[in-house]
Amino acid sequence: MVGIVIVSHSRKLAEGVIDAAHIMAAECPMAAAGGADDGGYGTSPQKIKDAIQEVSGPDGVAVLADMGSAVMTAEMVLEEPGYENVILVDCPVAEGAIAGAVSSVCGDDLKEVVRQAESARTMSKL
């Protein structure tokens, strides 16, 4: 199953997104990289690496990041060697995580999980 990592400036936001996605896709391996190393607000490259490691398997990992340094730090981590099977997804974090997690537990491959998560970008609500 494809793993999903949520990178957010806020620890609570990252963990909350995973809770919400697990309601629909409990088996999806998900890990949070929320907040700075000291527990405050921000982004930590080490937390991103640890979270990827935690959910990493043969099917790969999709990484969803909220904004700004979360996106840039995730990009920098993925440029390092060893992350060839990890993709940073351009999508809203909560909706994308739910779409991606459902796709993952349905047995889709990494490319399809990414496509499903990205589809959250154009999802109309009203």
């Binding site: 907040g35 405050g40 080490q46 340094s69 840039m72 730090t73």
Partner: protein
């Protein structure tokens, strides 16, 4: 400038950022998430703690290690942005033990390209680039006019300060300040300001 003087410049950068920490945070509170001063001070304090490792190392090594330290310690956008800038400059200085005015221009070129690539930004979006690019252009033209390294960087500092003033007149379209939109008018950009402090420090050391 020889490689053995770089640690002294980094120490001076750390001191200046720490002096201006509250001001940078105030600027960022107005249009961003208020972490710029604290994050920059924390980043440069971490760089300072690595200075003993820099003894006898070439400028490329020192700048690359500085960049990597900023990336790993700074929790906000300044981490990946300044981290990329220092690492790109470090690649230019690979194996070199002395920095000339031409080297410095190449470092700035690489740093600007790195920040544009990492932040997906261009000039005029109320970011650090609005200080970096005019500073680089002023240094290039000063060198062309036959002015020496210290004089050229002094001209760069002037241009960076004007760039900071210019950021007050434009609306942010990149970074957290983009969410504030038109209300960012009248406020100077924290990243352009911190870059100007770093360049001032280099100028003072030359």
């Amino acid at each position: 400038m020889k490689s053995d003087r770089i640690p002294e410049v980094l120490t001076a950068m750390s001191r200046k950022i720490s002096e201006k920490k509250d001001f940078l945070t105030d600027l960022d509170n107005a249009i961003g998430d208020g972490d710029h001063g604290i994050n920059m001070a924390r980043g440069f304090a971490a760089v300072e703690s690595r200075l003993p490792e820099f003894e006898g190392k070439d400028i490329g090594y020192i700048l690359k290690t500085t960049g990597m330290t900023l990336v790993s310690v700074v929790a906000g956008s300044a981490g990946p942005l300044y981290g990329t800038a220092f690492m790109k400059a470090g690649m230019v200085m690979n194996g070199k033990n002395e920095m000339t005015a031409d080297d410095f221009i190449e470092c700035l070129n690489a740093a600007i390209d790195g920040v544009m690539m990492r932040g997906k930004a261009v000039q005029g979006e109320k970011t650090m680039l609005d200080a970096m690019i005019p500073a680089r252009d002023a240094i290039v033209s000063a060198v062309k006019d036959g002015r020496n390294f210290p004089e050229a960087v002094k001209a760069g500092v002037e241009a960076a300060r004007e760039g900071v003033e210019y950021t007050k007149t434009i609306i942010a379209t990149k970074g957290r300040a983009a969410y504030v939109g038109e209300r960012s008018l009248g406020h100077q950009d924290p990243g352009a300001t911190s870059f100007t402090y770093l360049l001032e420090t280099i100028s003072e050391a030359l």
